[in-house]
């Protein structure tokens, strides 16, 4: 009953056992309690992970990596399209023109470069229509951030119906790019679309999309990887005077992936923008309790400062926001002087996209349920309650679970033993119900042999027994 079919949950975040030092930083930060420590290594519970990347940010040794496709894959196609999100242009100094950045991407080996946000004006219209058509459901939640969509699926299953079933800008632009080039007579099997991603969540959205059979995108390139390559090309190109021909995005489009990017443009009613995953969780709890009134549209982003704070963005998120806001202003001021029909521009009306913009149903996949059988779930709930009351509520994590409550849950789900609690061990030792050998074995099974190796202290360090009034220093007694 406990064994979920883990295979169905694809994740872009991978834990490298050979590097992991079993420090538990990731376990303690994970907002969905999806990490445990066992045998001295972090272990991911695939059914709870939403790919928000908080673990990646705190890992002190780089043991958490983000999977990526081999860059050479682009050469499997004769027509190679790069989809560049505007946050990528925000990684470079103000002095570097966004057109020069896009041109450098093309120079790297692509035949075409599209900006992800080209689809924004079209999408914004559809959002407003959708909000009008779905008035009774409040608040409607943007599907923009894949980590948020997955968070709702696992932690807020009752809110799944609030998710707007429209595709993200990247999918719209990808569909448009493919259609445009196919219409020009290019063999569709020869077109490869590659998306430059700021985060792990967007990778998962491509590799195992929610509400879609298969993504229109053929591969992903991690932003930090591309950044280094483009930086080099830009340095070589310094001084070259060709002006790359890219139709400037509207200011709205440039800022769409930033906080308030969407919320500020929903015309059908009051909207709210919330970023950072813990803020999002706090707010969704309230939405789920029906305590939030009068909000029609919710923009929710897992990262602080939204995509400017994506885990694969090399730049500082505040600087990126600043740069993009400047780019937006400049863009709006020069747009008028460009010819209306220009490369890749997607109009507000577009029949083809209109027919392809909808997402299928999003299903809940609750991590909250204790058992499929309700009577069984009730028994488990009672046991968790009782066990939790025996635990000290220190949430120290030494048991290998992120909190006392989660250890109680793990015990009831047969994933852990109550003896893993260090306080329970001390109580049992006092009652002669556990000897030191057993407690050491348990601790080793959680934290590995070497963290508890009895010979690991250097000879010169003798641990002194303190007498009253003595001070302890790491040199020994003073």
């Amino acid at each position: 009953m406990e064994s979920q079919t883990h295979a169905q949950f694809h994740h872009a975040l991978k834990f490298r056992e050979d590097i992991c030092i079993g420090c538990s930083h990731c376990m303690n930060i994970c907002p969905t309690e999806a990490i445990r420590v066992g045998h001295g290594k972090a272990q991911l519970l695939a059914n709870r992970c939403v790919d928000c990347g908080e673990c990646y940010r705190v890992c002190p040794v780089g043991a958490i990596i983000v999977e990526q496709d081999d860059f050479e894959n682009i050469y499997n196609f004769t027509t190679r399209i790069a989809l560049i999100p505007s946050v990528f242009t925000g990684q470079f100094p103000d002095s570097v023109d966004s057109g020069a950045i896009l041109a450098a991407v093309q120079e790297l080996g692509f035949t075409h470069v599209f900006e992800v946000e080209e689809g924004v004006e079209f999408l914004n219209e559809r959002f407003n229509e959708y909000l009008l058509q779905h008035k009774p459901i409040k608040p409607l939640i943007s599907p923009f951030c894949p980590a948020v969509v997955r968070l709702i699926q696992v932690k807020f299953p009752t809110l799944v119906r609030n998710i707007i079933l429209l595709k993200a800008p990247v999918d719209i632009t990808a569909l448009h790019a493919r259609k445009t080039l196919t219409d020009q007579g290019i063999d569709p099997s020869e077109i490869g679309i590659f998306y430059v991603t700021p985060c792990a969540a967007k990778i998962v959205a491509v590799k195992s999309p929610v509400g879609e059979e298969k993504s229109v995108i053929d591969g992903v390139i991690n932003m930090n990887y591309l950044y280094n390559k483009i930086f080099k090309i830009l340095r070589q190109n310094k001084g070259k005077s060709e002006i790359p021909a890219f139709f400037p995005l509207s200011g709205k489009s440039v800022c769409w992936s930033l906080t308030h990017g969407e919320a500020d443009h929903m015309k059908q009613g009051p909207s709210l923008a919330i970023d950072e995953i813990n803020n999002v969780i706090e707010f969704l709890e309230k939405v789920e309790n029906e305590e939030i009134d009068g909000i029609d549209f919710l923009e929710l982003r897992a990262c602080d400062e939204s995509c400017a704070g994506g885990i694969l963005c090399p730049g500082n998120r505040f600087m990126t926001v600043d740069k993009l806001r400047k780019r937006a202003l400049k863009s709006d001021s020069i747009r008028g002087s460009y010819p209306a029909e220009f490369q890749g521009k997607i109009g507000i009306a577009n029949d083809f996209l209109h027919h392809n913009i909808s997402l299928g149903e999003v299903h809940p996949r609750s991590m909250m349920k204790l058992d499929d059988n309700m009577a069984e779930a009730m028994i488990k709930m009672k046991r968790i309650y009782d066990l939790n009351h025996m635990l000290p509520q220190v949430d120290c994590g030494i048991c290998g679970s992120p909190s006392c409550k989660s250890l109680a849950e793990d015990v009831v789900q047969h994933e852990a033993s109550i003896k893993q609690c260090i306080f329970i061990q001390k109580i049992l030792e006092q009652n002669d119900k556990m000897d030191i050998q057993e407690s050491v074995l348990i601790m080793k099974s959680i934290w590995s042999d070497n963290k508890l190796d009895q010979n690991s202290l250097k000879d010169e360090i003798t641990i002194p027994l303190l007498q009253a009034g003595e001070e302890f220093t790491n040199q020994g007694k003073k």
């Binding site: 299953p157 009752t158 809110l159 799944v160 119906r161 709890e285 789920e288 309790n289 029906e290 305590e291 009134d293 809940p364 609750s366 909250m368 349920k369 204790l370 058992d371 499929d372 309700m374 009577a375 779930a377 009730m378 028994i379 709930m381 009672k382």
Partner: protein
Amino acid sequence: MSTGKMHFEYQVEGGNFSAAGFPSSQVKKTLKQLNVDGNVIRRTVVALYEAEVNIVAHAYNGIISVDIDTEKITILLKDEGPGIADIKKAMEIGYSTATPEVREMGFGAGMGLSNMKTNADHLNITSEVGKGTIVEIINYFHQ
């Protein structure tokens, strides 16, 4: 406790709006862990919250008792308060005796009871003027 049944109780303090919402939040958590259908959870939470706020807004104090078995959730809200003289009238949309202070808190639209009715499979209200009110809500897990 016999298997397949659960019971919870919560105290409600009249006038304390800042504490309102705790019982519905706890009930929500429990129903999620029991894997109850999302729609049933939502309806239950709405009905319970409205009933709780009515005690906070209109009565002096009350007790909420919640019973869950594998078929249904039964919620009983008993309060000590002024009672409702004309229940039929109170059920009408827009009817409210809420004080200006209560309205200031964002309540008092006279929507609560009708909202409860639409979100409960079974709603039963009995009241004695000058003593108090008893509200019973039952929602079934499998329609």
